[in-house]
Subunit: 377 residues, 4 copies
């Protein structure tokens, strides 16, 4: 089994999900590659050291360039705030490393395009961590669409609802709250949350032609966590848009951090001529499915508990009825990434796939400003 040395750049929440995935993947999947947690890199030395100790990295450092230049590193993981993605990923590609980048790929589409060009020019394997594609119920949904079970699609709806910024006391900037600062994050819910919905939608339902959007910033000023001063909030707190897909279906997307009762309620519903499907992240192991082909007196939404061995990824885990959780979507994407290396059929979404999502995000933000329809890139 060939070993692949991983350099993890970042030690926050996402570094945990990715490290956990690397540690578990070989226990559950039969692979030709064995990832090795080589080094972790972050701003504060003591924290990087602690992270390395906890997760079993062989070393740690505070300068990402050292990781990128390290001859022993095969895969560079970019799990830092969005405004650093491009610089690090491009440097890693230029150094001939495989690159796995957190979502959203970049601050905007032009920047994303540079990243695409860099990895493609370097010819290195590349991947963006839109992990929700690999929740088994979501993968099942994709499979059902591809099998033609829904027929012609009329409607695609997706929401991503949270409630963690309702309090005006939540600061902006700083380690935990850089997502409220457009300089670090690029945008608010559009890039952070809707990007997930858009990635899934493009994958399941094809490309989007044009969009019409509305954004809102409910809390106009917040205290900066680092300076202690009040400053204008620069991101979108909420974003709603509708759109036309190129297959003729209508889309309706909404995201907010002001929806009481929802912590991470990513949902989608797709209505086709023959069937409909529905899913939400709070009950991630279930897929709701309505088949108009059922006998009429027996038609009803089926609540499929996606845990049997013939469901996507599930044969690798436990037994029917016993569910997996959020973290497993990261294990699946690493497994698929490594299998893609072995087969030569790269796992998706690549940087180029993520560029398409970025283009939709840009069109959404542009439309929210212009107040009219905008074409997608």
């Amino acid at each position: 089994m060939k070993k692949l040395n991983v350099g993890m750049i970042g030690y926050g929440f996402m570094a945990r999900t990715h490290s956990n995935a690397y540690r578990k993947v070989g226990n559950f999947f039969d692979l030709q590659y064995e990832p090795v947690l080589k080094t972790v890199c972050g701003l504060v030395d003591a924290e990087a050291a602690a992270f390395a100790r906890r997760w079993g990295y062989e070393s740690h450092c505070t300068d990402w360039r050292k990781v990128v230049e390290d001859k022993n590193i095969d895969i560079v993981e970019v799990v830092v705030p969005n405004n650093y993605h491009a610089e690090i990923a491009i440097a890693a590609a230029q150094a001939g490393k495989m690159v796995i980048c957190e979502k959203p790929l970049a601050l905007n589409a032009p920047q994303a395009l540079q990243m695409v060009e860099a990895v493609e020019k370097a010819g290195v394997a590349n991947f963006v961590s839109f992990n929700y594609r690999r929740i088994p119920a979501v993968t099942l949904a994709k499979n059902l669409i591809d099998e033609g079970r829904l027929g012609k699609i009329f409607h695609y709806r997706a929401n991503f609802l949270q409630d963690w910024t309702i309090s005006t006391a939540v600061p902006t900037g700083g380690m935990g709250t850089w997502r409220l600062d457009a300089k670090s994050a690029g945008s608010g819910v559009t890039g952070d949350l809707l990007a997930h919905c858009i990635d899934t939608a493009l994958w399941q339902n094809g490309s989007i032609k044009n969009v019409n959007a509305m954004t809102e910033t409910f809390v106009k000023e917040r205290k900066n966590a680092e300076t202690g001063k009040m400053e204008p909030v620069t991101i979108d707190d909420a974003c709603t848009f509708f759109c036309r897909f190129n297959n003729g279906s209508m889309g309706n997307f909404e995201s907010t951090r002001y929806a009481r009762g929802h912590k991470a309620l990513y949902t989608f519903e797709i209505n086709g001529e023959k069937a409909s499907i529905r899913w939400d992240l709070h009950d991630l192991h279930r897929l709701q499915y309505f088949d108009h082909g059922d006998a009429s007196i027996l038609r009803g939404w089926r609540s499929i508990h996606v845990s049997d061995a013939d469901q996507p990824y599930m044969k690798h885990w436990w037994v029917p009825g016993l569910q997996i959780g959020y973290e497993h979507s990261f294990v699946h994407q690493i497994a698929d990434f490594l299998e893609g290396l072995a087969t030569g059929n790269p796992a998706r979404p690549t940087f180029r796939d993520a560029l398409e999502t970025q283009k939709v995000c840009d069109a959404v933000l542009k439309s929210a400003k212009s107040g009219q329809w905008e074409n997608v890139g």
Copy 2:
């Protein structure tokens, strides 16, 4: 259209559900008979008068014998406390009236048998108001079983859960609370609530061979509403039993008035070799159905919203998606009763059907005392 004059004996809760059913049935069903609300009879003259006025009865009285003897009356409705059922129903039968009796039919099986013999000897139409059979979702369940969709049945489970007697301040005896007095009610939850579950079970799953039961009276003493004195509570507050059906399946039944959070939660679940079904009264218009014959990756409990026109009774009401409620089960049973008169194929359950339920109740109460298995009648 032939008119049938109704004499309603009782003006309580059940008299309201039956009167409403008579008033509505002709608006929604095409029938050969037209029920006429002729007279209502109850203990207190002013209350009987008010009831008559509200519901459009032509007259009222306080002596049920006058109703039974009235030449103009075709149907006698017995909707009074259980200890009066037998006397009134037998007298009505002897006077040649059709008799519709509230459930449970009698205080016990021997008394029920006398009632059966009376109506059969008189040759009069007779019916017992186990109304839940005629909730459309429940009727659908019965139809699915009869069509063989479940295959061999392994398990039958039913609950009837309430919470209205948890407070020790609820009195016994009196108008609203005669159900807590064994003299009036015969038993507690067994006759009041489990009788419904047993009626449905016998209808859906066939006869019961033997039972093993447990009862409990959580509050041992209550104030008598009429005398104001504390007295021992004589009824079962809760009853659980398991049983063997003659088709080889196992039954598990439970009822209580001490289950916080449940007002009238009648539920059943039936597990067959090929499919399972589940229903509850709090969401009465839905039937849950699991079909093992579905493609394995698409198996899931279907939540069937039983509101389409091809569902039982539903073509008589509104349009798909728009549901009916509790009261409509009474309309359906009157419609079926009247149609049974027209076709000569009597609506069920008859007094004889209800006798079987009574026998199971008797065996349950006997087993709760003996602490061992008891055969049914």
Copy 3:
């Protein structure tokens, strides 16, 4: 008890719901007025006669002007296709009749304004049948908002999803399908379905400032039921819009007749600073409620079974746990209308209230054409 004679103009689906309401209201509510089903009017004499017989109308006719001019009629009910609302309602008002009109009030806002002016000039009681306000769970939602339990509102979302026109074989025009013809209906889902959502939203969340909308007609041509010829479909099959309410909240509305699995799925969700609520018509007796004020480890969406006697309207019906259905919303509105007459505090929505809904519908349709934000009238 003062009698009020009702003249029902129309004998279709809505004439049934209204007739049923009139017949039942006195059995369940204590009122100072007694409605009398005096006459029903419709195009085909035999059908009007049959309707009169079934529902107990004293007479029938085929010329609505006779009803309007009849001295004995107190209330004129307008339950005909939308393009006849204005003429009949205005004539009735001019003849001094109270007028109850089906929704939407008119084909457009200018026409609705004429109707408002007519009833206000005549000083007659007037009411529009947006019946969903009076589903107990919906009324409870309104009460919770008015009590301030949600605090500042951030988001209002509503859907009305159906699937009955997916088949290209559904014709346009004719008795059952005039809703697919813009000449009769004014618009498609906007006036038929979104009007309900808008009425509820304005009532619960106040006025709407501006809207941005998108419509789609998925099936471009259908056979005309009367001529048998193919003709262009003139209505909107689906409509999505977002909006700004004047209280600063964002709205997201969607309706379609192309959503497999949904027969009449009217839903709303409202997110406030302190609490959120959610409701849907397929399980109409439940209100979902999330209270952020609950102890943090015990926070969860509550599924309130709105059936206890202290819930809106429920003391008039059965006992806790036993639900009512769709038809009862019509009983409630007649009860409130009659009580409004008695107290001098008119039941809402009046024609003037419904005009506001019409203005939003007009802005939505205008925006769908212009592709940009439009202010509400």
Copy 4:
């Protein structure tokens, strides 16, 4: 950090869940002990070797006595068929090892007692893997009861429903199906599934006084997987019992492998004077909670998504709204076991706790034979 060397005896399904737990626990919990996967032992050398390689064990063997006698081993894990538990666990205790044993502890209570005496005489840490106690929602339920939020308990109900033996083609005996052979398993659903329900119930609701049970074996003969011959099925396919708890509440328990639509549906519902709770394994991250103390118009079952950081165990995982799965219950129990070593306050259930569960199982099986009430040991 002190290292503790683990010897895993068994390499089946449960060896996977335990190995995974050992590998993950240190990444998520701050502990004073570091478990080291030292050796794994199983019948077939090649399979033991493969298991060791996959999970990172330093060595493997085929003779469990070598593990028990190995001076380097600190913890012996017994994850083999039930009929081997006693011999191995007793030998390990006598060798001074800590012992962690899969459930059920033994084939019957007398054997369990010998195991208890062995570990207590040896003074070694001991633990039984009733993992469901440590699903966060289940732990929350226990905490709510201990805080008195339910008040006096009236009812305890639990089910464990599966469907995997409905096919008559499922063999008995052999690696995957030793659970169908009473020699290996002791009993059928009683020891395999009801033991889980009983463990949770005793923990949450205290001891059981007496029981009354019924068992059934639906398929009387199956082919032996090793001999290929038909032989009588010796285990209980289904078991139902009711009981009296010593706190005065009634219990109702049921388990079966013949319930279509349920893969591993462990459920419980507890009704107290003040509140009720409900949980099921198919949606394991939710706890249903009904609080009668809520304002009456706002009372409803709360669906608590047990994922916030202040919920049991959850601060160790991801962020609110993102759920964990089945496997994490095993991580939690190892974390608690190791913390118990550190604090001197042993994690529960110990062997002695599990003996109580075994006594209830014995009484249940005895009652099923006698057909009458049996006292618990």
